[in-house]
């Protein structure tokens, strides 16, 4: 405790030296004198304790100011506590008391500690801000890369300037395949053998589905594109996949697919050997269960 008060007094002393305001020491000495009595007689006297010289030569002028300055002095001291270097003048060693370097050390370490505080605060704020920002950032990342199955709804592929046929290239042959799950009593066939398209040229293709049973059946289709490497270039504008298609008993319906091959297909050297693309649709049976949820029927 003595050391603590040594330290506090030293700070106030230093502070008062800086501000040329020695009022503070008055107040503190009064208090401490009463409590501890270690600091000798107070007054306009120089006195010593533990080889620390406390200079007090002011009366009680500006007592309130002095109290506030004391607060400042205390806060300055707290700054010093932050860094390890600050401990240098917490010890009761009094060697550096009259040393002019003492002041410089204090200033240097106080500056370092201030910068350390700034950096720490900045890191904290950055961390908190990052956790808040991570939610929309992750969402953006998922949408642009389709990570973990996020549907890519990027419409820039379908801008009108990309839908221009590339005149100078060969025609790619697109063949069609149709499959049905065994549980589905439909017949599902493509209506054309193949379509030869230029990249960038939008094309229409038809499938016909007929419900051969005597009940209304809901079907859902998925598709597949072969060879797999072409898949990024095969863009469907509109089709009949992934949504329920209800056919009444005995009904026959044409199902169109409107698609195009991305013009950048020809810039890709990996696509050089691709002349035929196969688009394959498979229909599955689905029904609404008791909760109104569409569930597939396994084969």
């Amino acid at each position: 405790m003595n050391r603590f008060f040594d330290f506090m007094m030293r700070l106030f002393y230093i502070k008062s030296q800086f501000l040329e305001c020695n009022n503070i020491i008055n107040i503190n000495f009064n208090l401490i004198n009463k409590k501890f009595g270690k600091y000798g007689k107070f007054g306009n006297q120089l006195f010593r304790k533990n080889r620390i010289i406390y200079n007090s030569n002011i009366g009680l002028n500006g007592g309130l100011n002095g109290g506030l300055n004391g607060l400042n002095g205390g806060l300055n001291g707290l700054n010093g506590l932050n860094g390890l270097n600050g401990f240098r003048f917490i010890t009761s060693s009094t060697k550096n008391n009259n040393n002019p370097n003492f002041y410089m050390h204090h200033k240097k370490y106080s500056a370092k500690n201030k910068s350390l505080l700034m950096y720490t605060t900045a890191v904290l704020i950055f961390g908190v801000g990052f956790t808040y920002a991570s939610v929309p950032l992750y969402r953006m990342f998922c949408q642009s890369t389709g990570f973990s199955g996020t549907p890519m709804t990027d419409n820039s592929k379908f801008s009108p300037d990309r839908l221009v046929p590339a005149r100078n290239s060969r025609r790619i042959r697109v063949t069609f395949n149709a499959d049905i799950s065994r549980a589905l009593q439909w017949s599902f066939v493509p209506q054309q053998l193949d379509v030869r398209v230029l990249p960038g040229e939008t094309a229409l293709a038809f499938y016909t589905a007929k419900n051969n049973s005597n009940q209304d059946i809901i079907g859902m289709a998925t598709y597949n594109v072969t060879p797999s490497k072409v898949a990024p270039y095969f863009n469907k504008i509109q089709c009949f996949c992934f949504e329920e298609q209800k056919l009444e008993a005995g009904e026959e319906i044409d199902m169109p697919v409107f698609f195009f091959i991305d013009p950048e297909f020809f810039d890709d050297p990996l696509m050089k050997d691709v002349d035929t693309i196969t688009l394959s649709y498979t229909f599955f049976k689905a029904r609404y269960d008791n909760n109104g949820v569409l569930v597939p029927t396994p084969t």
């Binding site: 379509v195 030869r196 960038g200 594109v225 797999s228 504008i237």
Partner: protein, 82 residues
């Protein structure tokens, strides 16, 4: 689908169509145009370039009957010239 497959294996990932699904033409209102288009394809051995005017007509038919959202033809890839 499967984890740990070699990177050379190119997998296929489905993507949704831009405009979703075509509403079903239950009444067969545009069926005639379908027939014409398929006929044209057969005659041209699948060459899409010659039959595009028919697909344009089919899509227009769908739009008029409310079986497709209205949109400009150039957004669907049909430029005014060819």
């Amino acid at each position: 689908m499967s984890f740990g497959r070699p990177p050379s294996v190119k997998t296929f990932t489905t993507s949704p169509p831009e405009r979703g699904s075509f509403p079903l033409d239950h009444e067969g209102e545009c069926k005639q145009l379908v027939k014409e288009y398929l006929q044209c394809l057969k005659q041209n051995s699948g060459n899409n370039g010659n039959c595009r005017y028919l697909s344009k007509a089919y899509l227009k038919c769908r739009m008029e009957r409310g079986l497709m959202d209205h949109d400009e033809m150039k957004n669907l890839g049909f430029q005014d010239k060819g």
